[in-house]
């Protein structure tokens, strides 16, 4: 019998083991000693074989099954670009302190698509070898150019068999035409709700009246269209976080059940504000408290609240196929399934790359709608798009579930080969995975109640709490 290489990490009072296909279990230190020194018992071998961590002969069912699971974890579902972020205007009617996506004043000139850029963008979309498309309108404030949104949507509805549209809006000023635009089953709203009115006012509108108007608009959206076509996320200032209970209550009042908690990324224009050196530690504490609040609140309730990113990463631990979130996937190739088209037709691999070019940090553009994609540049960026051979990741028990983000590495650290433990990406995700496995293996009924619903299962497997010895 051969055992696939196992990585390990102390978690709580036991050791977490994982194989490269994502199989995992907990065991004692004495098992680790037997495994590492090559003195596995017959019972150990049977345990590992039964768990899919070993095989008798190459080509047998255990071996083939492992190869299948390994492949599925390394394969992106999308066969071509089918998710395009469009920036029809950089102009915005708000001036949030930590805006990182490069905005222009509402009345500025030269920051919108012209007729030529619109035509070339539609031609770019038309040439994509797919029948399915998802368009995300960003900005600036995209509702300032509803005419461009309408032109793109009309084209896509005719060109693709399936088309979905998301408008990322501050939802501050909503015209009659905008309300009509949202009155379509294929069109969703994504907006930012940082907390109760005082927090929204402090971080975004700088005006209580404007914050009130925003909440009225969100309430109106839910009243008209329900909560299935609206998503919202708070951006958290770890130096001055909102009251977490009030944050949940705000979302609850608005009829929203999913909250995507994100710390301010002090990049781009947001670099003007200082970044704490202990940000990861402070973030993990805050994030853990938030999850604990959700678990307490959910217990026994039919209405389940989730933290969106936690649920997503939990699914990445439990199965393959959760590979459309570009903040965490492996491999994470640029221009494989999504791109960003800026206000001047420049194509970027991510929104963060767009921001870096805008502030003059580095130009990672990968083409434009006039001349198409620059394959040589894409290949250069993709040379570091997987974590399997990273000298730190290859020893990490969380590698099969984690990802890599070369654009984020360049943005935050100026290069892609920074030792992983020193990066925000690694620090953030180590803490997140620690929390996931703490909760996955918990015997607390309250924890299991939320975890089963976040994972989408009806009962919680008892063996998850067991520790092999």
């Amino acid at each position: 019998m051969e055992t696939w290489p196992l990585r390990f990490r102390p978690v709580g009072n036991s050791i977490l083991f994982s194989d490269e296909a994502g199989g995992w279990f907990r065991a004692t230190d004495t098992f680790l000693e037997r495994y590492a020194s090559g003195r596995l018992s017959g019972a150990d071998s049977q345990f590992l074989l039964g768990g899919g961590h070993a095989f008798e002969r190459e080509g047998d069912l255990h071996h083939t099954s492992f190869l299948n699971r390994w492949s599925r974890r390394h394969t992106l579902r999308a066969a071509s670009i089918d998710y395009v972020i469009l920036v029809p205007t950089l102009r915005c009617n708000l001036a949030c302190d930590y805006c990182q996506v490069s905005r222009a004043a509402e009345n500025a000139k030269g920051y919108d698509w012209d007729a030529s850029t619109l035509a070339r963008t539609l031609a770019f979309l038309d040439a994509l070898p797919t029948d399915t498309i998802k368009i995300e309108f960003q900005g600036g404030e995209p509702l300032l150019r509803l005419d461009l949104l309408d032109a793109v949507r009309s084209f896509c509805r005719q060109r693709f068999k399936t088309a979905q549209f998301v408008v990322c809006s501050n939802f501050q000023r909503v015209s009659l035409e905008a309300w009509q635009f949202f009155d379509a089953a294929d069109t969703s709203l994504s907006t930012s709700i940082d907390g109760p009115r005082e927090v929204q006012s402090r971080q975004r509108t700088h005006d209580h009246g404007a914050a009130e108007l925003f909440f009225d608009n969100v309430t109106e959206f839910v009243a008209r269209f329900g909560n299935a076509r609206i998503s919202a996320l708070p951006t958290i200032d770890v130096n001055n976080p909102p009251d977490l209970g009030q944050l949940i209550a705000t979302y609850e009042r608005l009829g929203l059940n999913s909250i995507y908690l994100r710390p301010i990324n002090r990049q781009g224009f947001a670099r003007r504000q200082p970044q704490r050196t202990d940000q990861a530690t402070v973030w993990h504490k805050l994030y853990g408290e938030f999850l604990d609040l959700l678990i307490e609140r959910n217990f026994g309730s039919e209405r389940i609240f989730e933290e969106y990113y936690f649920s997503h990463v939990l699914r990445r631990v439990l199965r393959s196929g959760s590979d459309r979130h570009v903040d965490i996937r492996n491999p994470n190739p640029v221009a494989a399934d999504y791109v960003v088209i800026d206000h001047d037709g420049t194509i970027f691999p991510t929104d963060e790359a767009r921001m870096m070019a805008r502030v003059g940090q580095i130009n990672l553009s990968i083409g434009n709608v006039a001349s198409g994609l620059d394959r040589e540049k894409i290949d250069q960026l993709n040379a570091s798009c997987f974590n399997d051979l990273d000298p730190d990741c290859q020893h990490c028990a969380y590698q099969p579930y984690c990802g890599t983000d070369q654009i984020d590495s360049v943005s935050r650290h100026g290069r892609v080969d920074v030792p992983r433990p020193e990066t925000w990406f690694c620090q953030r995700h180590l803490g997140l995975f620690d929390k996931i496995f703490e909760l996955l293996t918990s015997a607390d009924p309250k924890v299991q109640y939320s975890m089963s619903r976040w994972a989408g299962v009806t009962t919680w497997p008892k063996h998850l709490t067991e520790v092999y010895s």
Partner: protein, 79 residues
Amino acid sequence: MDILVPAEFAAAVSSALVRLQYLYPSYAFQTEGERIVVTGVEPERLPEMQREITYALYREKIYADGLPMRRRLYERLFG
């Protein structure tokens, strides 16, 4: 502090030392016969460092032992 390296981990010592020096640059790691000797460790961190050194040896041995399997896996999947 010093740690006796069991014979089955002797081949992993050099790569473990490189990794430990990278992870803990303020300490000095070297070998003396069958032992790894570390200087600069604060007394309160001795148990933790003992564990980290042991784990580094485990990880490097597991990694080296697994390389032929990983190579065969890549050959199977990517030809």
